[in-house]
């Protein structure tokens, strides 16, 4: 076994690999760029080597620098994680030439599977069922159109070298083929330095299901069941689970066998993933093979009990696979949420900054429920503009799907992040979504269920009562302490009024709805705080919450819940299950006065298009004086290597254009103004 390995990656995956290596008694070497000087992975590793400036091309993607770091530290092997150099044949080759072991598949397998077109040919040869499409490189728009028409709409245009949704477009019409082809090509070029794209049939209402395979250098290949990753936004996976609610044992066995056959056909000798697009009728077609550890591998680990990183290291050290196909037993259900620094209320635009507060739920194994949080950040750390804005992968495992989802939901409620925008409210809302809970998935799920984007989760009567009761309980505890202030008049106690009126305003991003009123009486009864609403609706609350705590944990009625608390002057914001509300807890006389107060309307910023994130202006699609309709493209801003199309939210006329293509803008910089 290796004595020392280097991890040619950063963030959560580097930390995750270090954990397993450490458990196996292997020393670890991290690499870091200038931007990652204080990053967690650099702190966690036994040694850390600086490899250059923040730009990935000059650090994490620089093969020579990684080799140099290996030589300097005497690392015998390199784990590439995912992304960066993980699927570069040249990297695997370079390591081989330097006598360093690549903890991943052999260069030949990477070459065979790395190119999407080549991989399809290989798959067809191995008798894996494939999607109808054109496997050649497409020269221009005209050819793209011709091929699309031959296959029949809808079609998908994809970058040959692509992955992760970059350089990928779906076209339903000839016009969309033209636009999609151009965009896919330019994104492919900027993301991968390779503008080759291809076209294939797009399966309607498809599901994304992938098979984890594991091979060794002795010709053994097994599969570890499937993961379903149908919940995607713009082809980026958001929620993954294992197993899939769609598959039956027979289909699983068939897909597994094909995946193993393909792996064997290319002499696959590490952990890899064979992705399929699956129809609702369980028909499945090969999509691509990822010759690396997947982001979502933890869900497989939790249902199989197999540490994939450990297996990768063992097979890389030429050990024989100790697990036989028959040993693989799928146990329970695992669900993973990807927590990203992005603003769900502003069309998921990336957000960067300091993690002023980062308080994840506790990792634990209790009562058959596991909570695992794979992260590469810490409180006081930074999500920088240079890399993927992932904060963490939150994974829960339980005996059943429903329990795993409930556990995920609770864990998300207890996940407290401040300092930047993040998608936890959206993930929490997804967990509560009836269609997700029913397992009726497709890759169009988010587009179908959130056609106008995410605007917060609607509050039911019962939800509002819970929030109001928690607010009243918090206010009650704060009030108990206020009555202990020194210097009070003696001989007369300050009497507490029992009646309260909670004004509750729903918040979605920067929009705050008009308040709804929830009159209740609140008192302490045998340790519990009891909130009585009108009629006979009563909620008993049990909690040890104390002023200053950011999460209110307690029992409300029969449910154990966690509600995030952010105090404000005269109010606090409560977040629970994707719902965010601002609550004011008033006495009756305060409520009466508050009703008399005029409603103030915030200054109108709707007349301007603001840059939603720090980024580079790629193009401005309109000119001064031009009339635009809602939905029309106004400008394209590139951030985090993604082109973000900014569209008009309403019909209007452009008054002034303030930004120029090529200009770098700060967040909220004015791009243009409407008349």
């Amino acid at each position: 076994m290796f004595k020392r390995i280097l991890i040619a990656n950063r963030g959560e995956i580097a930390c995750r690999v270090i954990k397993t290596a450490r458990r196996m008694g292997i020393a670890t070497v991290a690499v870091y760029s200038d931007a990652d000087r204080d990053a967690l992975h650099a702190q966690m590793a036994d040694e850390a080597v600086h490899i250059g400036p923040p730009a990935a091309a000059q650090s994490y993607l620089d093969i020579e620098k990684i080799l140099e770091a290996c030589r300097k530290t005497g690392a015998e092997a390199v784990h590439p994680g995912y992304g960066f150099l993980s699927e570069r044949e040249a990297f695997a080759d370079a390591l081989k030439n330097a006598g360093i072991v690549f903890i991943g598949p052999n260069p030949g397998a990477i070459a065979a599977m790395g190119d999407k077109i080549e991989s399809k040919k290989a798959a067809a040869k191995a008798k894996v069922s494939t999607v109808p499409g054109h496997l050649g490189v497409i020269e221009d728009e005209r050819q793209a159109l011709k091929i699309a028409e031959e296959i029949g709409f809808p079609v998908m245009i994809k970058a040959s070298a692509g992955g992760g949704g970059k350089g990928m477009r779906i076209a339903h019409s000839a016009a969309e083929v033209t636009e999609g082809f151009t965009r896919a090509r330019s994104e492919a070029k900027s993301s991968f330095g390779d503008d080759r794209v291809f076209i294939e049939k797009f399966i309607t209402d498809p599901r994304h299901i992938e098979i984890q395979v594991l091979g060794d250098k002795h010709g053994n290949v097994i599969h570890l069941g499937e993961r379903e990753c149908s919940i995607q936004r713009r082809n980026q996976k958001v929620i993954e689970e294992a197993p899939s609610p769609l598959l039956d044992p027979a289909t699983r066995a068939k897909m597994g066998a094909q995946a193993v056959a393909l792996a064997k056909a290319v002499n696959y000798d590490s952990a890899g993933t064979v992705e399929f697009v699956v129809g609702q009728d369980k028909s499945f077609y090969f999509l691509e093979m990822n010759t690396r550890l997947q982001v979502e591998h933890p869900v497989t680990e939790l249902i199989t009990g197999i540490d994939l990183v450990e297996q990768m290291i063992r097979v890389a050290a030429s050990e024989k696979l100790s697990i036989k196909q028959d040993d693989v037993k799928l146990n329970g259900w695992a669900v993973e949420s990807r927590i990203y620094a992005e603003d769900p209320y502003r069309n998921f635009l990336p957000s960067v900054g300091r993690l002023i507060r980062y308080q994840p739920p506790e990792e634990e194994k209790r009562d058959g429920i596991t909570v695992r949080n794979d992260t590469g950040v810490y409180e006081g750390g930074e999500i920088s503009i240079h890399y993927d804005p992932m904060i963490a992968k939150l994974v829960t495992h339980a005996p059943t799907r429903e329990q795993a989802i409930d556990a995920q939901s609770s864990a998300l409620d207890a996940f407290y992040v401040d300092g930047l925008q993040h998608n936890i409210p959206f993930l929490a809302a997804l967990m509560a979504h009836p269609r997700w809970r029913a397992g009726k998935l497709s890759t169009g799920f988010i587009a179908e269920e959130f056609p106008r984007g995410f605007h917060g989760h609607d509050l039911s009567e019962a939800d509002a009562r819970v929030m109001a009761a928690v607010a009243a309980a918090i206010d009650f505890v704060a009030g108990e302490r206020k009555r202990q202030i020194a210097g009070q008049l003696t001989g007369r106690f300050v009497t507490r009024e029992r009646d309260r009126c909670v004004f509750l305003e729903t918040i979605a991003g920067s929009t705050i709805a008009a308040p709804t009123e929830h009159p209740l009486s609140v008192a302490r009864e045998r340790g519990d705080i009891v909130a009585r609403f009108g009629g006979d609706k009563t909620l008993a609350l049990k909690s040890d919450w104390k002023p200053g705590e950011r999460i209110w944990r307690g029992r409300v009625g029969d449910d154990d819940i966690a509600v995030q608390v952010r105090p404000l002057p005269n109010a606090f914001d409560l977040t629970w299950r994707g719902m965010r509300v601002r609550v004011h807890v008033y006495t009756e006389s305060e409520a009466a006065a508050a009703r008399l107060m005029p409603i103030k309307i915030a200054a109108d910023s709707g007349k301007r298009l603001l840059c939603p994130m720090p980024g580079l202006v790629v193009s401005i699609a309109v000119s001064e004086g031009q009339e635009v309709k809602a939905g029309e493209t106004l400008a394209v801003v590139e951030a985090m290597k993604m082109e973000n199309v900014l569209r008009a939210e309403f019909d209007g006329v452009i008054k002034v254009v303030r930004a120029k293509p090529g200009e770098t803008l700060a967040v909220d910089a004015v791009i243009l103004e409407f008349a």
Binding site: P547, P569, N570, S589
Partner: protein, 534 residues
Amino acid sequence: MAAAHPRAMPSGTKRGTNPNLGLSTMDILETLEKRREAARVGGGEKRIEAQHKRGKLTARERIGLLLDKGSFEEFDMFVEHRATEFGMEKNKIPGDGVVTGWGTVNGRTVFVFAKDFTVFGGSLSEAHAQKITKIQDMAMKARAPIVGLFDAGGARIQEGVAALGGYGDVFKRNVVASGVIPQISVIMGPCAGGDVYSPAMTDFIFMVRDTSYMFVTGPDVVKTVTNEVVTSEELGGASVHTTKSAVADGAFDNDVACLLQMRRLIDFLPANNRDGVPEWPSFDDIEREEPSLDTLIPDNPNKPYDIKELILKTVDEGDFFEIADAFAKNIVTGFGRIAGRTVGFVANQPMVLAGVLDADASRKAARFVRFCDAFEIPIVTFVDVPGFLPGTSQEYGGLIKHGAKLLFAYSQASVPLVTIITRKAFGGAYDVMASKHIGGDINYAWPTAQIAVMGAKGAVEIIFRQDAGDKDKIAARTKEYEDRFLSPFVAAERGYIDEVIKPHSTRRRIARALAMLRGKSVEMPARKHDNLPL
């Protein structure tokens, strides 16, 4: 607001009205209740409704929100003016435009007067002024805070000099009470002419946005005299006074928000200059460590960071009441608690003008420091200051004198002073920001601190003027200077810094220092008073 009063008779029983028997005690009690009810409606339902339509509460409603429920004891409800000119003798309303009395805020005594806009527009008469001075005198006797709620039209012109005299009586008492009991003024409507000077002499002024304004002379007079056309809001609205003039220390969206925040502020304030800060049980461990503070200072010394994060992570439960938050944002002032006891915080804000000291920041902080010192509130100072702001506008604006105010205030303060240098402490600003030399009791530095006369670039250009043309030499000299001076250790070697501390331990260090300094006592020479550079 009609409170239920106990009645001895069962309801429905008719009381005798035999004229021969005179008034029964019960009748007399009923008369009292009727007179009270009449007084409580002030200027009448119509005017109350008009007040509500403007988004404002009445004087009694405001007092009801400020004080604990049922705690208000009103004085001088039946006082009427004594004017006879211009037919005023026929126009009398009980209370005469101001509601006065006392009550409690979370059980602690607070005196209050509230101008009643529904009665003679809240204008000040001789009798009205006497009601206020009576309350001021009582607050001084009881050594308890006084809060004035303003919503009035100035002097009652019909009373002439009697009204002006009344103002003078109020002003004089404001000054006598200054530094003895906290005085808070809340502007909740118009406040003009003579009315503005009483608030101006109190410790804090707060305003309500859009419904309040303050000026010495109103838009009409301004137009007549200077031909300038302005609205009341432009001349003296909350945004003007909280951002430009610094007359007001804060603004709130409406009456309710404002009064509830006044309750919160009072929880931070001592009752007077002798009782010491109020204390309540804290739920926040004084040993709490904040590892995230170890990365608060960015690697790049020219990159800003938010000093409020440090304040919020240091104080109990993240509870911080900021004073003058919208003015001179390059310095942050406000109240928090450590171990349940009030502490005043002063901190340079690197996010705004790099945290530089300018005239505005100096006078804002100076006033805050003097308030804390007067009321025995310990002061914690967080320092990251690149120096004083250069330039003609600053020098012409009297930066020397304004900067001296802060220097004076800190030098004079005898309360516990705990200072933490987080990053830059350059030049004279190092001395000013509660350094050891001017009376800082405990001075800590983070390892990232740079205590020097100036930054490396400027220093090298002066010290090594002869090498100016030689890039390599300058670079070497700069490195030399940075290594030697841009650290806390030169100061620590001299004992100007008591210790270099880890950022994550800041709260614990401050808590221990404040605990140790609880009994601090400083002797000052006898004098009539000092001569602060005004």
